[in-house]
Amino acid sequence: MNKIVSGAQEAIRGIESGMTLMLGGFGLCGIPENCISALVESGVTELTCISNNAGVDDFGLGLLLQKRQIKKMISSYVGENDEFERQMLSGELEVDLIPQGSLAARCQAGGSGIPAFYTPAGFGTEVAEGKEVRYFNGKPHLLEHALTADFAIVKAWKGDRYGNLLFKGTARNFNPLMAMAGTITIAEVEELVEPGELDPNTIHTPGIFIQRIFQGKDYEKRIEQKTVRPKA
């Protein structure tokens, strides 16, 4: 099995205007930088993007927003981003805000063949509008449906040609969940390794969830909130 493609351009082949994409990452941590750049170049538009956040003005999904390639964002927290705010307030951009844990669970469910589940998050809030409420053990829960995507795009630390992935630190976040939920899942990795180099026992994402993989380049890995303490 060899899922390696030459790079981001080949990896995103088949992504068309109007499609739904999932993009891994939390803030700017663990985002698929190479594929986002390739999407900007490709000029696809009318995208629905499922991503916990929406990048900043000049990085991450902000780059796609600048080019008005995104029709709708499905996220839990957005707006570190002036252009996002402008488009949202002007009505150019649809925004569906979802509690973060529900977003994570809905992606995981989508990849797991679980069409819907009940969660307590959002009961009694506007998130509950139009949703079935059901009590379990006396506690109200909302019915939430699985999320899937035409393409899921994730960023990992290491990967092999079978598609097995290892993430680094908190750059894991939504990546393994979204990897499960794409009809086609693209993984860009900092380092492609030979099969067997990743310990089968500690692989985060088994290759079965990945259809295309490539070694990315020029990772900027921008830090959003640099916080440090003085050396003692």
Binding site: Y77, G101, G169, R229
Partner: protein, 217 residues
């Protein structure tokens, strides 16, 4: 009256040995600096880490190691890292003993509003709705009144809710209050604050029973 650090210090007194704790952005984050001596707690951040340590030294920050506030962090020995679904499994499954978060409004039946102001840019609820809907033990850390001097402890919230009947305790610059079926029950006064001050700053039902002690910070 307490400042933000005072509020953090007071809430830190609630920590118990062996607890797993999720701290929200703002005042709650400060609590990590005031863990009582002799107890051991672990901090969870909902993007996917347990056992968060202090901020890194200058030059040692790692873009792949951040907390839910997107700040660079370190990991303690015994830390573990996981995906966001597992992280919210911990939260929803009530494996976290204490959640502390900020609020714009809290009502006397335990409702909380902290994510949206109509007419203003909405940034989203992040993990707040999962946290408040799931946690058994939630403390709100906030100022007693807003910048216009209006009470944030209300009969009922005016802003869109984050969660209903979920808050158990509020620690403000003026007081510690438990939320009971009959409303806010005053537990402690901040240094130099009178019961009258607290009454004047609280719009919701307020229960005052007996002498109200002053906090020891």
């Amino acid at each position: 009256m307490l400042d933000k650090i005072g509020i953090a210090k007071r809430i830190a007194q609630e920590l118990q040995d062996g607890w797993y704790v999720n701290l929200g952005i703002g005042i709650p984050t400060l609590i990590a600096n005031y863990i009582p001596k002799g107890i051991s707690v672990e901090f969870q951040s909902e993007n996917g880490i347990l056992g968060m340590g202090p901020f890194p030294f200058e030059g040692e920050e790692d873009a792949d190691m951040i907390n839910a506030g997107k700040q660079t962090i370190t990991a303690m020995p015994g830390a573990s890292i996981f995906d966001s679904a597992t992280s919210f499994a911990m939260i929803r499954g009530q494996h976290i003993q204490l959640t502390v978060l900020g609020a714009m409004e809290v009502s006397d039946n335990g409702d909380i509003a902290n994510w949206k102001i109509p007419g203003r840019m909405v940034k989203g609820m992040g993990g707040a709705m999962d946290l408040v809907a799931s946690a058994d033990n939630i403390i709100v850390a906030m100022m007693h009144t807003n910048k216009k001097g209006k009470s944030k402890l209300l009969k009922s919230c005016t802003l869109p809710l984050t969660g209903v009947q979920c808050i158990k305790k509020v620690v403000t610059n003026l007081a510690v209050l438990d939320i009971t079926p009959d409303g806010f029950k005053l537990i402690e006064r901040a240094p130099g604050v009178t019961v009258e001050d607290i009454k004047n700053a609280t719009e919701g039902r307020l229960i005052i029973e007996g002498d109200i002690p002053e906090m020891k910070i």
